[in-house]
Symmetry: C2
Subunit: 306 residues, 2 copies
């Protein structure tokens, strides 16, 4: 018997659905065969590939960056969109949602070049830890998903991230941690411009969000960046529903997977009430829409490495 | 002796510069080594990979589509931005430039889904011919460039198109003709939105240009779509100067190539006076900026296949 390509996935309906789907689309003689260049997979990031609780890693990054900025320019503390963040006013922060967070990220980094940002992000990612789990954010990635990414690539898939998170923060670790290169990362992004600084051409981030890559914007950015309809999509919230329905309404075989965080012991248990990125409609309608529900508790034999 | 990887390139300074650059960045023991994932090449399309004269292929596409639209809705003929196109008023069309053309393309296809557009583009590309050269546009691609793309890929480069042309028209032939998949095509793009039509999710083009991918916007879109600074850039007009300077001001080795259309016998001879996409500053400053000038007449042994 061949080696199990997904050892951290427990035997069951979900694992079988994944193995069966990959077998069907890669069988050159089968009715569901998809040529390799069209085997596009799109993964959400926060809560799908890495842990997003107690709060999004990007929140801790933005807060630290903002504190440093306010130290230099104290008058910013009272201004929109910074105030609730400076005051760590969690109800207000949640109210502003993921978009509000991305707006803070954009505002904090206005004037920073993408090269400067990359260095800042790498430094932070190298040391920043999850306050609840006590481990680095980059180590709190889901082992079953790393196996799935490898398995898909071994079967001719090209795997993309399509995230509501900031595109350049994700690019700071996706290649090392997931094996996903920068050009296969789609995310929220700021307005940018090009300028010559002396004889050096640089790309400068502006203090304005250009694309908040969530919900209906996800399939739009897939069309812009990828130019093909994915045949496999993996998400964990209502923010992924549009790209799931987009994938599922393609011509050929397709698979949409939805991770349900129902494991308070090994990770967190949450869905509708996680205000910043709730899972509600996608959970209720999964059956109607043909979405395959993945239970962290039931379907994953391991969650994190080590 | 190994087989010449660039048989349609004549021996000389330019060919040597290309071979030498690729040898340097792929030599693991050398000072200029670049790991394969960072070997990003960006090619302009119109006039760099395929022939853009007497007029941009996209002009003929837009004109045909517009004529069909005006037949159905005659009142559009007098409206902005259609009037000069309906009247084939070439001086006015040139005045409006490449952006004007892209605005017509956007306006004509407002309400079309990307899937519908792909079918329309494929049908047109399959039959449309260059009125002067009498061959299909897709057959008027430059053989030396096809060899260069293959040579770069064989040496671990990932080749992208970064074009002022409409992204979805290019995606209609780039994979078959250049071996460049849709996700490696960057171009001008319309605003898009996602909607459910019955139980089918579609991406709809809106009648508005979102990004005109020319000049300073090219490096901006490279940062957005690719997320790495290219180490090799190939262009043919001032529209490519910003991305050339961006590539040339990276940390390591880099090469920027500029094709000069100086071959009235085999193709066309033009530069400053081609109003729709002139070559002027890049030509004058090539030496100062470290750009390698490529002469179609001198450096290419063949231009087109057949
Ligand atoms: Ca998520
Ligand atoms: Ca050009």
């Amino acid at each position: 018997m061949a080696k199990d390509p997904l050892p951290s996935w427990r035997a069951g309906k979900v694992k079988s659905a994944i193995l069966d789907f990959v077998a069907r689309v890669t069988d050159p003689g089968g009715a569901d065969f998809v040529p390799a260049p069209q085997r596009i997979a799109a993964f959400d990031n926060d809560g799908t590939l890495w842990c997003e609780r107690p709060f999004l890693p990007q929140f801790y990054f933005a807060s630290e960056r903002l504190d440093a900025l306010v130290k230099r320019e104290p008058e910013l503390a009272g201004r929109v969109p910074f105030k609730p963040y400076v005051e760590r006013d969690l109800p207000a922060i949640k109210q502003l949602g993921k978009r509000g967070l991305l707006e803070v990220v954009a505002a904090v980094h206005g004037g920073t070049t993408v090269d400067e940002f990359a260095a800042i992000a790498r430094e932070w990612l190298g040391r920043a830890t999850n306050p609840k789990l006590g481990r680095r954010f980059v180590d709190l990635v889901y082992v079953p998903q790393l196996e799935l990414l490898d398995y898909l690539r071994a079967n001719g898939f090209k795997c993309f991230i399509v995230s509501g998170g900031g595109i350049d923060l994700i690019r700071g670790f996706a290649e090392n941690v997931y094996g996903i290169p920068p050009e296969q990362v789609v995310g929220s992004s700021e307005r940018l411009h090009f300028e010559m600084r002396g004889d050096k051409g640089v790309i400068v981030k502006e203090a304005a969000l250009a694309s908040f890559d969530d919900r209906e914007v996800k399939p739009v950015n897939i069309a812009l960046h990828i130019g093909r309809r994915p045949i496999l999509v993996f998400g964990n919230s209502d923010g992924d529903l549009a790209m799931m329905r987009y994938a599922l309404s393609g011509e050929g075989a397709s698979l949409a997977l939805l991770l349900h965080h129902d494991d308070a012991t090994r990770e967190f248990e949450y869905d509708r009430d996680y205000v910043i990125s709730p899972l509600s409609e996608a959970l209720e309608k999964a059956g109607d829409y043909g979405i395959t529900l993945v239970s962290m508790k039931g379907d994953w034999d391991r969650v994190f490495a080590g």
